[in-house]
Amino acid sequence: MDTAFSSLPFPCEDKNVMYYQIGAKYPESSLSILKHAQAFTSNYNAFSGSGYITFRFIVDCTGKILTRIQVLQTDENYKKYYFEKGFVNLLYAFLKKMDKWEIARINDREVPLAYHAFITFKIQNGKIVNIIP
């Protein structure tokens, strides 16, 4: 997968803060992301497999995703599984189009803090059926 490294812009700091500790869940609902993801992938070849594809990453203090991404994949019983590379790359391409990440705030003020976030695509027979969180 993508192992390119992109460092945090000054003065942004990574203090291992999770998105939920600063109320920074992606501001679009799962329903809305699902609709866009299904539209984005609808013109591509049929894929197979059922389970979960998760991208974990850092959002910097300008609201951009660092290209240092971790990909986790399981089948529907939460056992390790590998989906087709083309499918994972397609979902990654969609992830890169998600551009509304929150900027970290504490007490309603922007702070120069990066945070850790994730998006999981729940897959059923090669189709995206749900988005987590």
Partner: protein
């Protein structure tokens, strides 16, 4: 042992830090039959999308203490991993183990109804929500005010999905009588009025939904900070509707 490694150990630390895992690994090593140690160890993984690590730990907790952890795993499957079929199995087992128990402020039947709603098993969901209401009111119709607003909300959504506008409105309005700012209940009520081509009321409830979300009202479940609930909305969905 539990006091040393859990109450005065892991629980005194941040679950995203290394000490949390150290305390729990220690107690599991010394005494591998303490269910709560596995459940606690799984917390940071489930909340950060690592299901291959989290779920075997949840399974172990259920294996060791099914009475205490079966419904909790069902909750995780329903809300966190959207595994609705797996969740129903857990809640049905929980009902046998601890009849009419509760999880996260709701009856087991509430979650079963929610899962059946999401799976499109509408008739089963109707029965689940009826039983959920029966348990909450103890079968006394005079106790309607005891019904949780999100039971009314999801019952309303269920009837909306079943194209029963009359019952959808009845339950969504019940939800709003208890919690008038509920963004989702206002939004889906607007969608019912849209279907009825009553555009004045559609815009009225879209406006309330938008104002409520802007003021940070939500469907008010503890775990929405981590994960979206089924049918949860966001501002962009309301704006898209307004612009249609």
């Amino acid at each position: 042992m539990i006091d040393r490694y859990i109450n005065n150990g892991a629980l005194k630390t941040n679950y995203n830090g290394p000490q949390w895992q150290l305390y729990l690994d220690s107690i599991i090593k010394i005494c591998p039959n303490i269910a709560i140690a596995y459940q606690l160890k799984a917390i940071p993984f489930i909340k950060f999308g690592d299901y291959a690590t989290a779920m075997p730990l949840e399974d172990k907790a259920v294996e060791l203490d099914p009475q205490n952890w079966t419904a909790y795993r069902g909750f995780l499957k329903c809300i966190f991993t959207k595994d609705y079929k797996g969740s129903i199995i857990d809640f049905q087992n929980a009902q046998l183990l601890t009849p009419n128990g509760g999880e996260m402020d709701h009856t087991y039947l509430f979650f079963e109804g929610l899962c059946n709603l999401e799976l499109g098993n509408y008739n089963k969901a109707v029965e689940n929500f009826r039983q959920d209401i029966f348990i909450q009111t103890k079968g006394d119709s005079a106790k309607e005010s005891d019904i949780h607003y999100n039971t009314s909300f999801y019952f309303g959504i269920l009837y909306y999905e079943m194209n029963d506008n009359k019952k959808a409105k009845e339950f969504l309005l019940k939800c709003l009588r208890k919690y008038k700012q509920h963004p989702e209940a206002n939004f889906y009520l607007a969608m019912v009025y849209k279907r009825e081509k009553n555009f004045d009321l559609m815009h009225k409830y879209l406006k309330i939904a938008k104002e409520s979300l802007s003021k940070n009202y939500s469907l008010n479940e503890d775990n929405t900070i981590y994960v979206n609930y089924p049918h949860q909305i966001s501002l962009n969905i309301i704006i898209e509707e307004e612009m249609k």
